[in-house]
Subunit: 297 residues, 2 copies
DNA sequence: GACGCCTATTGCGTAAAACGCTATATTTGC
DNA sequence: GCAAATATAGCGTTTTACGCAATAGGCGTC
């Protein structure tokens, strides 16, 4: 069923005259006759009673006329609607990040963008930054805020937002296992410290590297998913943790812990936004990506 | 826009895979690809984001998917509806007849038919029987109950319902101009009688013929449209009228008038149903026509 | 009552378009 | 890095659609 058939039928049912209708449709009477035949075959119904001299609608024809008009109207409506939607970006963008990132970066990142593109909805998923890249690679989320790995997968595009340092944190309450001179680290003063580390992710890798350089196998008290939980456990006095400083700055438990200024310091790392290269073709993703580039000159 | 494009799009948006969708559509992947291109061209929008390895719906695609499903649903619905309507006759049948006919014939004519074809509505127009054939010939009404003329127009089909005689009627109240011996008519006793006749139609023609045979030019007191009004005027004592006996039999004023048994008697005539031959092709008209044939064995 | 006009329909030759096969480019997983 | 997967463009063939001209039938008119 082609919409041209509907147009032909409507014109015909308005004029009740094949010759005049064919002119209005910019076609020949024979084409119009065949259009109507095709329509009536598909519907297995007579829509227009006609002979060489008279043309009139059957009851079914009147009914079908309403259908045809509605259908063409709806077609015009969807065309206009889709054009409007294309002009104004719409759809969802899902972002995966840590709770900390949702506090610290996101507002700044999205506040302007939301005003500029009110048709776009954001779906925010928070969780352990260690999963961030996989969530993007698997397509579960469009974007993620994550520490930039040393060698990002080629399918991902990366954009730095800020740098942050990893820090050791200890409870402010006293504990006998606290290293006495964290500024000059010795192996033996760290061997008995109960450590609270990430299960995985860059902070864990950096911490492991740090201990290996010191020649120490740390006593791991707990492995935690999510940096925020590390702050909690350290604040409760369970041990010493390693977290990005930015997590500490945004933590409501910052008072319960203190930074241990160890030597050598843990490395800085980039925190940035990542996205699948191929999703950058999506207009709304591309728009956000570029908005991030142009932010804060 | 062809509905096949919509089907292709829906299958594609369900499977998100050109190969599998093409099998479901019983076509080739290249056809499917071109269907989608055509659709996107007509809509000037990207519906499906795709590369050699991934297929996904855009926001517009999701919106259009709803439209496409609705549209195909509506198409199936109208097909079913029209098929039902075709199985059960529907539409209007308009009938023109005199008030008398509407009392006397119509109930009998239509009562069974209405039960058998509840989808058909009747539009009843009453008026002077003299107009009946013209109403049908011009297409204003589908059918009419009318006296059968001596030579019916070739475009009309005719079917007798009953015979009726024309009668002279006079007021029951005395009047000096009343013919004293209607049974043996003489010219002079009729010349002064105030006659109340139809303006036109068969009853008028027959009356004229009757008077001409008698060699009398009647004194016409009033020319009336509609036999029922003749009974009224005669009942009020204005003169002598000529009406079909059946009108008298159905008149509430029958008590106010009496039949004059004139010699020679006015002729009988057929009262029947007429319809345009070409309208007999309409199923509902044909059904009624045949129901009339089979009525009352 | 025969003739001529009007008009929907059909036959047929041509034009267009749609289809499927194949090759290609590109991506992904091992 | 290689092989498998897959959407798409090119191209030859088939199918479909179009319009012209002829046909058939109804209707008004002389």
């Amino acid at each position: 069923m082609d919409f041209r058939l509907l147009k032909h039928f409507i014109t015909l049912s308005d004029t009740l005259h094949f010759g005049r209708a064919s002119e209005l449709c910019h076609t020949s009477p024979s084409t119009l006759s065949r259009s109507l035949q095709q329509l009536e075959n598909e519907l297995a119904t007579t829509l227009i009673e006609r002979d060489n001299r008279h043309v009139s609608l059957t009851p079914q024809g009147m009914h079908f006329q309403r259908y045809a008009r509605d259908t063409l109207d709806q077609w015009e409506t969807i065309k206009r609607t889709l054009a409007d939607e294309a002009a104004q970006l719409t759809g969802d963008i899902s972002i995966y990040c840590s709770v900390t990132a949702s506090y610290s970066f996101l507002y700044e990142l999205l506040s302007d963008f939301r005003l500029q593109h009110p048709g776009i909805e954001f779906k925010l998923h928070t969780g352990d930054p260690a999963n961030a890249m996989n969530r993007v690679l698997s397509g579960d989320d469009d974007m993620a805020i994550t520490p930039r790995p040393r060698t990002p997968p080629p399918a991902l595009a990366f954009k730095s937002l800020t740098r942050s340092s990893l820090v050791f944190i200890a409870p402010t309450s006293p504990a006998e296992w606290l290293p006495h001179t964290p500024e000059s680290s010795t192996a033996q003063q760290w061997e008995t410290v109960p450590m609270i580390l990430s299960e995985a992710g860059l902070s864990r890798e950096y911490a492991d590297t740090w201990f290996r350089a010191l020649g120490v196998t740390p006593r791991i008290y707990a492995q935690v998913a999510g940096h925020e939980a590390i702050v909690s456990m350290v604040g409760l006095g369970f041990g010493v943790g390693v977290v990005p400083k930015i997590v500490l700055d945004n933590s409501p438990l910052a008072e319960s812990v203190k930074i241990l200024h160890v030597k050598p310091e843990l490395p800085y790392y980039d925190v940035g936004l990542c996205v699948l290269n191929r999703r950058l073709k999506r207009p709304r993703i591309q728009a956000l990506w570029e908005a991030v580039s142009e932010r804060r000159p």
